[in-house]
Symmetry: C2
Subunit: 224 residues, 2 copies
């Protein structure tokens, strides 16, 4: 067991070094990278596409992380956004070296925001730095209100939480009060956005928050 | 990298040995163990509880796998079912040794079916034997119809696929034909059950399939 932990630690340390290099590249380009983490099917791609539209004229690029396939990248590309697909080959989260390989394929200096759509998973991406500026957890109403209780690590490190598929909340018996109760035990002040990317309901608060992050991106990079 | 792979292999080999021992214990008790794998929030616990009711007078027990907490175990216990909570302490799937530790805590010889609810994850549980008799993947309609395409490994090894939350399919734009198209590329003959554990719609076919698995359990154990 000790041996395994040791190896895990060195892997994480190496990952942190690469993440720091990514952060430097993104900082020099003035691009705010957002690590989007969620369960499979929480609506990450749909949210990213709707957000990119709402953020215009700010310019958005995307890194799509998936076990296999390029379905999401093709959807993003069809919307005219610069996109790179990263396949993890079975791995349950993106790593910093995968982002390092993807960044040169993107027109970074022309991008205000880079969404990094992580592999659909509420466990593995937690604690794995990619060089992102912000971490966002997306949690859809059909998944239920107990997700912050059951997957605390990923919620604890989130800079913002999006409750997606808000339009179907009445049909799936989502209990917002219970959800917020669990979440507030992990993170007392993280901003929470309830929205439906499909209907547009609630998008404006989320987009305003992002615009504020973009505005303060250069300053907070310098400050950290 | 070579070193990491080697360790991974030995871990899997050790896991397979423990899984074989679990299979023997379950076989001697005449208990059919079902490894239930799904995304977070696909409705595993709700399905297990509804199924346990429908299977009566067959007797059902549950092992609840979670990163942390015992919320689901308490829900299962409140329904009068024997249950053991396994916390993985951050691990993204159950392992055979966790099941080996849980089995002595259950009245196995009195149980016809043991549901093993894996950690909510469509990636990590794939390929990790627990000693189960059948593997079932639960995939809810709000997660979308592309799940078999994006998470092929777990669907490929399923003995049955449950499409859950069928009652909300019309509200979330679930495309059954596309889903089955992706699934059939991985597994041409796996049985698929569309159901809603909440409304009861579609439960009878699923329960009939399970009853058939219980009936043939002794025979197929002897045969393998």
């Amino acid at each position: 067991v000790a041996k395994t932990i040791q190896i895990g630690k060195s892997v994480f340390a190496a990952n942190d070094d690469v993440a720091a290099a990514n952060r430097k590249v993104l900082g020099e380009a003035g691009t705010l990278a957002i690590n989007v983490m969620a369960s499979p099917g929480a609506g990450k791609t749909t949210l990213i596409l709707a957000t990119a539209k709402a953020l215009a004229p700010a310019r958005v690029g995307v890194i799509e992380g998936d076990i296999a396939g390029d379905l999401d990248a093709r959807v993003v590309e069809s919307q005219g956004l610069p996109v790179v697909q990263v396949n993890t080959g079975g791995g349950c989260h993106l790593r910093a070296d995968m982002i390092a390989a993807a960044l040169p394929e993107l027109p970074l200096s022309a991008l205000d925001v880079l969404f990094i759509e992580n592999v659909g998973n509420l466990v593995c991406p937690a604690g794995v730095a990619l060089g992102e500026g912000r971490k966002v957890v997306v949690s859809s109403t059909p998944e239920g209100h107990d997700k912050p209780l059951k997957y605390p690590a990923v919620f604890r490190e989130a800079d913002a939480v999006v409750i997606s598929k808000w339009d179907v909340a009445p049909y799936v018996g989502f209990d917002l009060e219970a959800y917020l109760g669990y979440l507030r035990q992990l993170s007392s002040s993280v901003p929470v956005f309830r929205l439906s990317a499909r209907t547009g309901e609630g998008m404006s608060d989320w987009v305003s928050w992002l615009q504020e992050q973009v505005r303060t991106n250069g300053r907070s990079t310098t400050g950290s």
